[in-house]
């Protein structure tokens, strides 16, 4: 049974009316099953963060409905906790108090054992008393994860949580999350612009197209768990990766108006395509200011990780 369903979700920033800006999300349908790990992949600026913010309840859709756990989403809830690209720990609180922050909001007496157990789960025991700025970027992101998981949310929303980390730390955290995922019961919607990350982590991957943002490809990832960095070298992984890159290339190019490829749902997996799609991904991975797609009247630019 789907714990989260988006039906015909449309999002337009700013006013509607004659000079309304084009829709960021256009009639998006997504279903997420309980205990599922769904990754959403797409070029920067395609509306991934917007989608996540709608599910989190920070934003209301212009059209369509978002139903979580049988109820329409109308605002944020501790059942749907977000982990952002930056850890956003409170510098005036110790690591322990940061992790306990959500519990403190709800309860007069905090179950400190639960807090300390969660800190141990993310491997930060011994750092409880430290302020967050004494921790490395990777440790801070694990603390942010602990702060979310200690609430025992039904749904964990992650918006490029490792996007601001260096490659090595990022790889360690991916493996850490894979392992953690086997130990906690939570449904995850994980957003990324990194193809490998999307395939490595997810049970299912959704690829979004740019302006307007739609789901261009839905891909089941049957690769058995436990997975690790080795998994990325396996044949099934490479197969899915190739298909993902082809789709990404198609959605970016069609958005840029370079080819007239329509939205016919065809997946052009021509091997020759691969080099060019690789390049287009590289530019967005870089995190520099790049134009990823141009619609007839407006250039859509993607900001780097720091600006999001």
């Amino acid at each position: 049974m789907a714990v989260l369903s988006l039906r015909q979700v449309t999002l337009r920033y700013g006013d509607s009316g004659p000079d309304a800006r084009p829709a960021v999300l256009d009639r998006v349908d997504v279903d997420v099953a309980e205990q599922e790990f769904v990754t959403i992949l797409g070029p920067s600026g395609c509306g991934k963060t917007s989608l996540l913010r709608l599910v989190a309840g920070f934003e209301r859709p212009t059209g369509g409905s978002i139903v979580f756990d049988g109820k329409e989403v109308t605002g944020p809830s501790s059942q749907r906790v977000v982990v952002f690209q930056q850890p956003w720990l409170y510098p005036w609180l110790s690591l322990r108090e940061n992790v306990a922050f959500g519990l403190k909001l709800q309860q007069r007496r905090v179950d400190w054992k639960r807090v300390d157990d969660m800190i141990a789960t993310v491997g930060l025991s011994g750092y409880e008393k430290h302020p967050p700025y004494h921790l490395s970027g990777g440790m801070q992101q694990r603390a942010a994860l602990a702060r979310a998981l200690v609430m025992e949310p039904k749904l964990l929303l992650m918006d490029e949580p490792f996007g601001a980390l260096d490659a090595q730390t990022r790889q360690r955290l991916q493996e850490f999350l894979l392992d953690l995922w086997t130990r906690v019961d939570v449904t995850v919607v994980f957003i990324t612009h990194d193809v490998e990350e999307a395939i490595l982590l997810g049970d299912r991957m959704l690829i979004m197209s740019t302006s307007p943002g739609r789901i261009a490809l839905e891909q089941k990832i049957d690769i058995p768990r436990p997975r690790s960095e080795e998994t990325t070298l396996s044949a099934p992984f490479q197969e899915i990766r190739k298909r993902a890159l082809a789709t990404l290339g198609r959605v970016s190019i069609s958005a840029a108006g370079i080819t007239g490829t329509g939205d016919d749902g065809s997946v052009g997996a021509a091997p020759d395509d691969e080099t060019s799609t690789e390049t287009s991904m590289e530019t967005s991975v870089d995190g520099r200011e790049v134009v990823v797609g141009v619609s007839s009247n407006e250039a859509w630019s993607a900001r780097g990780p720091g600006a999001q």
């Binding site: 501790s78 906790v81 956003w88 909001l105």
Partner: protein
């Protein structure tokens, strides 16, 4: 808002709008620091604790150097003796004023009166200004009511209020304390508003998706996040408070450092004038130092994301 920033921003006021620090915040990387005078003179690079003492030593050297030049100028009588007494003569004036007093008031009394006035006015400005700023930042209505007064009042130099306050409140303590309060409160209000407006949206979003309600957001996010800019405001505000005090005492007082300086000047007691000015400088510096210490204790996290 833009006006507010313009008011608060100045070279040495630190980094109100500093972006959240990047990833991998480890220990701060040393280097890129300017060399202290001691280092430049001796060509020895100092680190850590030594660097701090090096900087202190530089300050002391500069002050001693200035004293020596002053002594030479005064001794050589480049200027008439009444205009520029020697440092030793100033020290004697200081001792005399401190022990025997001047015009029936000892230096101690003057200092006590001035310090109490500044403290009362300044604390009043902080205690009133911060909540007013918070209210203005949180409520559009309150902002609309108070902002016109702030905008109109700000260009008026506080000193222009002195005659009015004397007419209204006489020559007692009240008009002086009020003048300091009126002069200092705008910077407190404006820094507080700036502090609230600069809070990154994610600080709120983190709390909201963990279940925080409006009141909890205010207590757990707004208040602590605003503290650094409140302290920035206080560091500017204490200087303004001293300016207002001395001005008030120059014009309408019978005790206090401003009064002392003014009276001594009319009788050409230049030694006392200079001693009074130095005491004002030292006291102002000490108060700012006190605020900095308090800041270090209350918000050691300042500047960290």
């Amino acid at each position: 808002m833009t006006q507010a920033r313009a008011f608060v921003l100045s070279e040495e006021l630190g980094e109100p709008g500093r972006p959240p620090s990047a990833q991998g915040t480890g220990s701060p990387v040393p280097g890129g620091r300017k060399l202290s005078l001691v280092e430049r003179v001796t060509h020895v690079r100092l680190t850590g604790r030594h660097a701090r003492w090096g900087r202190r030593l530089s300050t002391i050297m500069v002050l001693v150097g200035a004293l020596v030049i002053w002594e030479i100028l005064a001794a050589a009588q480049v200027f008439p003796k009444v205009a520029l007494p020697t440092p030793v003569a100033v020290w004697d004036s200081f001792k005399l004023t401190a022990t025997k007093g001047y015009l029936n008031k000892t230096m101690g009394q003057d200092v006590a009166y001035s310090v109490v006035r500044v403290a009362a006015g300044f604390v009043g400005a902080v205690v009133l200004g911060v909540p007013i700023g918070l209210l203005m930042a949180e409520s559009k209505f309150v902002h609309r009511v108070i902002d016109p007064f702030l905008q109109l009042g700000r260009p008026v130099p506080p000193l222009a209020y002195i005659p009015l306050f004397v007419v209204w409140f006489g020559l007692g303590e009240l008009p002086k304390v009020l003048l300091i309060l009126v002069g200092t409160i705008p910077i407190m209000i404006i820094s507080t508003i700036g502090g609230v407006r600069n809070i990154p949206a994610q600080r709120y979003e983190v709390a909201r998706c963990l279940g925080a309600k409006r009141r909890q957001l205010f207590l757990n996010v707004t208040l602590p996040s605003t503290l650094p800019e409140v302290f920035t405001g206080m560091k500017v505000g204490i200087g303004i408070a001293w300016t207002c005090l001395v001005a008030a005492e120059l014009i309408a007082a019978s005790v206090g450092l401003g009064w002392l300086v003014e009276q001594a000047a009319t009788q050409l007691q230049t030694g006392i004038v200079i001693a009074g000015i130095i005491v004002i400088g030292v006291l102002g510096y000490l108060m700012e130092l006190g605020i900095r210490l308090l800041e270090r204790v209350l918000i050691p996290w300042r500047g960290h994301g």
